[in-house]
């Protein structure tokens, strides 16, 4: 290995030299930072500035670069040197823009800048250039589980992009629910009438695509491996097993319809004339385009039909679904049209509490009104079967009356239940035993359980807005109603998105790079076996099931499954996990290299560990808005709050910091954490730090943790300033100078 040689480059542009004494910073870099070469430039990100650095790299053998200029989030292209390690001292957003330009502040502002230079020099000396994961798989096939609308679409989209697809369907035919529908909700202008489902065409295209291999009557009996190298045992009904390989998996396992017999108050099961929407599709298909829909009890033409929306949905009653399935209002409109289009004199009433028509459903709704379908805002209390038909009792919420309608046929809008497999994180209790009926979809051989983790209401965990298809198992993407309730049009969009993510995953995997959210990252965790105590914290806390156990019960890292969050690194009590360019030392040394003034100076030091995904950008934006915050803080960005190892906290307190603030993303069910669980485990760890504080006889206020959002541009500086006030109030850390 070549000798490390540090070059520090200080930019004087963007007002930095007007506010800071750059010569002093250069002095700090060379004497304290041990930089072999230190240069100042009036405009470092310009071609000439970058050229200056590059010529030092070539001529002087500089292989560690410190850029003391703007935030690490700015000018990333100019300062992208892939052959050397680079660290950034944030003098612009981190210092001059957040400190008021006043001579009273000059000293503290300069101190801040000098510390950031020291920190960057210390960091870069600990960093190694990541070489990429070498345990890569090269398989680029895509396995699609489920042959409904989502699965068919995902298969076709992947195939169209040039990838070979293996499609596994558990039933004897492709098409899923869509093939059981008479017509679908319109997806084209003018969104006025039910339209052909189009599923026949999809099936045909899949069956004739040379890039797609279909396995019917089959399921995944065992799934192991990682992105780029999954191995799947596909078992067929006949008993045969095919072992296949794939680079990524798309889970399009769809939904099961809610069992309406759990709704006795709505008369289901008590009369053949009280049915759910799926059964009406069957009646409509039987009637076809020629005949009229007949009621099951006596085959007489239906003259009056009532649709009961939200049947067992959006309700907190036990056994009901708490959520809205999202498709059923549009479906009821479509089904009412089956009657009206055939015979306008049929009375069709839709009883709803809130009509929810996503997509272009508003036009569809308008069309239904034009056709004379009656919409009434009402809460159905009971459906009482008659000899034929039934009487629907409801509270008319507009006319404020309790009333009823006589109907030949009653159609209940029941919801979707995700086929997400076994809830691997479900902790069984006496009141809530595990769902014995759940069948695994993937049968993963992971230590963390056979299926992808679930979030709420049994849907596969994926971030609803930011990363909808990413499950918590890298390389496995969920789409369609398995991740949230949806209709066919949405499922097709969803499947296309998941196909794209699967393609990105295989391409990144082949190159040994990380998948979302650190897509392209070449670093990966390595682990020093000698020190490991087999405590298993890393294995348990990794949000993505990337760590298995080897035969000697040591953690077994699957680099390709790893998202590079560092949660394992934060978890490890003996600190044997690290990344080439991010480790306990890269941060630890920064903490150590901040100059801690003497107690008598009355200059507290506050360490901020800020999540680089949201908190750090928010701080940058606060700077762009020239908001100011305390000069006592020193901010270190971290990959995820989950990567914060408690040693950083204890070291900081021991070396005299007066307060420590952790800024991470929102946790819990509505999480915004980019690594799903990182912020949560950090909160958990910090809740236990109070013991340490007690041992050190320190006030519990010395460590604070906050959930922040990227939009907290105003809130964040206020939060910091308030905290600085708190620290000033409780006084200096007695450990200073020890």
């Amino acid at each position: 290995m070549t000798e490390p040689k540090l070059g520090a480059y200080i930019c004087k542009g963007c007002g930095i030299s007007e506010r800071l004494n750059c010569d002093q910073l250069a002095q700090v870099a060379s004497s304290e930072g041990k930089a072999a070469v230190v240069r100042q430039h009036p405009f470092l990100c310009s071609a000439a500035g970058v050229e200056m650095i590059r010529s030092d790299m070539a001529g002087q053998g500089i292989n560690q670069v410190v850029i003391a200029a703007c935030s690490r989030r700015a000018k990333t292209e100019a300062f992208a040197f892939d052959t050397v390690t680079t660290s950034r001292a944030n003098l612009r957003e981190g210092v001059i823009w957040i400190r008021p330009d006043h001579e009273d502040n000059q000293e503290t502002t300069q101190e801040m800048a000098a510390d950031y230079v020291r920190m960057a020099c210390a960091e870069v000396q600990q960093m190694r250039q990541p070489g990429g994961n070498t345990e890569t798989g090269v398989n680029k096939q895509i396995l699609v589980v489920g042959g409904g609308i989502s699965g068919l679409t995902a298969a076709l989209e992947s195939a169209a992009a040039g990838y070979h697809v293996l499609l596994v369907e558990k039933s004897a035919a492709l098409g899923g629910w869509a093939s059981k529908l008479y017509r679908s909700i319109p997806t084209r202008e003018p969104y006025a009438d039910p339209q052909d489902t189009g599923v026949e065409l999809l099936i045909h295209r899949v069956q004739t695509d040379p890039q797609i291999t279909v396995y019917l009557n089959s399921y995944c009996n065992r799934t192991s491996g990682a992105p780029g190298q999954f191995s799947i045992d596909i078992s067929t009904e006949s008993g045969a097993t095919h072992t296949v390989n794939a680079g990524a998996i798309i889970q399009a396992s769809g939904f099961t319809r809610y069992d309406a017999s759990q709704l006795p108050e709505l008369g289901y099961g008590q009369s053949p004339d009280i049915i759910d929407q799926a059964e009406l599709e069957r009646l409509a298909s039987a009637a076809g385009t020629e005949g009229s829909i007949v009621r099951p009890s006596d085959q007489a033409e239906v003259k009056a039909v009532v649709f009961v929306q939200c049947a067992g949905q959006r309700s907190n009653q036990p056994g009901h679904l708490p959520y809205c399935s999202g498709f059923c209002c549009n479906a009821a409109i479509k089904q009412a049209m089956y009657f009206k289009d055939n015979n306008p004199s049929v009375d069709t009433v839709i009883l709803y509490t809130d009509l929810r028509t996503p997509g272009n459903g508003e036009d569809f709704y308008r069309s239904a009104q034009r056709k004379g379908i009656t919409f009434s805002k009402g809460k159905v209390t009971s459906v009482v079967p008659g000899k034929q038909g039934a009487e629907v009792f409801f509270d008319d919420l507009i006319l404020d009356t309790q009333t009823s309608i006589q109907a030949d046929l009653v159609v209940l809008a029941t919801g979707q239940i995700a086929n997400a497999g076994i809830d691997v994180e479900h902790v069984t209790s006496a009141e809530e035993p595990t769902d014995k009926t759940a069948i695994s979809v993937l049968n993963l051989s992971y230590r963390q359980g056979p299926d992808v983790p679930q979030l709420k209401h049994g849907f596969a965990d994926s971030h609803f807005i930011c990363f909808p298809y990413e499950t918590r198992r890298t390389g496995i993407y969920a789409c369609g109603p398995v991740r949230r309730p949806m209709d066919m049009a949405q499922a097709r969009i969803d499947a296309t998105g998941a196909a794209l993510k699967a393609i990105q995953a295989v391409e990144n995997a082949v190159l040994g790079r990380a998948a979302h959210p650190r897509s392209g990252d070449l670093s990966f965790p390595s682990f020093r076996k000698e020190g490991c105590t087999q405590c298993k914290r890393c294995t348990v806390e990794c949000p993505f099931g990337a760590i298995d156990e080897d035969e000697n019960r040591y953690p077994l890292f699957n680099e390709s499954r790893c998202r590079r969050c560092g949660t394992c690194m934060g978890a490890c009590p003996v600190r044997v996990i690290s990344f080439q360019n991010y480790s306990v030392d890269t941060v630890g040394q920064q903490i150590k290299h901040v100059e801690i003034p003497d107690e008598m100076d009355e200059k507290p030091r506050i360490l901020i560990l800020a999540c680089e995904n949201d908190a750090y950008p928010a701080l940058d934006m606060a700077a762009h808005n020239r908001l100011s915050y305390s000069a006592w803080v020193r901010v270190i960005p971290v990959r995820c709050l989950g990567s914060v190892n408690t040693i950083w906290i204890t070291d900081a307190l021991n070396s005299g910091y007066d307060g420590i603030m952790l800024l991470g993303c929102k946790k819990g069910d509505n999480y915004q954490c980019h690594f799903v669980k990182g912020s949560e485990v950090a909160h958990d760890r910090m809740s236990k730090i109070s013991d340490t504080l007690e041992q050190l006889q320190l006030e519990k206020e010395r460590v604070a943790i906050h959930e922040v959002e990227i939009t907290d541009i105003q809130r964040l500086p206020a939060l910091i300033n308030d905290y600085a006030d708190v620290i000033e109030k409780i006084g200096m850390n007695p450990f200073k100078g020890f």
């Binding site: 009375d347 009509l355 004379g372 009656t374 919409f375 009434s376 507009i398 006319l399 309608i405 006589q406």
Partner: protein
């Protein structure tokens, strides 16, 4: 007091409830009635109406009652007679229903059927006004005021006339009120021709309405 006002409307039978029958009748017979089914029950019209709180059934509710088949309750109601044609609701309705016109259409239809509340002051004023203007082609302000004031009896008429004397005098001074209107009123030049036109219009209108559900329309 009028007998019909105290008469309770017969309840809607289950067989008629939430059926399209009455809606269709409204579509066929009420001006702009085909819009009623387009209402999304948002309530913006009722909330926008400056007199909304005074209505027994504000527009949104009337539309739902029509769809619920409450024929008698709607047609015998005095709610739609409350509309002052301010057009607030029309401007705001997200579904662009011509609500004001429908209100007048409903009132007019109930009136033609002879089931509108007989004592409703709006209805009575409208009738007085129509007779007044249709007669000569020009409003006779004095006659109109007198008929209006004495609509509810002699004592009330005197009281009203006394109360409004200041306004009457002002109108007289500005030439808006002819003090001899009771004895001679100058109508338009060819009132006869106007009568012919109105008769013809009525004929056309009746013929159009006759195409409806065959509901008997009582001429007034």
């Amino acid at each position: 007091m009028e007998k019909s006002a105290s008469k309770q409307p017969p309840p809607t039978t289950t067989a008629e409830k939430y059926r399209n029958n009455f809606l269709r009748e409204v579509e066929d017979n009420v001006e702009e009635g085909e819009w009623v089914k387009m209402c999304i029950q948002c309530g913006v019209c009722s909330g926008s109406c400056p007199l909304g709180s005074a209505w027994e059934h504000p527009p949104q509710e009337l539309f739902m009652m029509i769809r619920a088949g409450q024929r008698e309750q709607v047609l015998r109601s005095d709610s739609m007679w409350m509309c002052t044609s301010c057009y607030n609701c029309i401007v705001r309705c997200p579904r662009q229903l011509p609500i004001t016109h429908i209100m007048h259409g409903l009132a007019n239809y109930a009136h033609r059927l002879g089931i509108a509340p007989a004592q409703n002051p709006t209805r009575r004023f409208a009738k007085i006004f129509w007779d007044n203007i249709a007669h000569s082609g020009r409003v006779n302000e004095l006659l109109l005021s007198i008929k209006l004031y004495f609509m509810n009896g002699f004592g009330e008429g005197i009281r009203m006339a006394y109360h409004m004397a200041g306004m009457g005098f002002a109108m007289f001074k500005t030439g808006r009120l002819d003090p001899f209107g009771l004895f001679m009123h100058k109508g338009i030049d060819n009132a006869k021709e106007l009568q012919t036109m109105l008769t013809k219009a009525r004929e056309i209108e009746d013929r159009r309405r006759g195409l409806g559900l065959g509901v008997a329309v009582k001429a007034d």
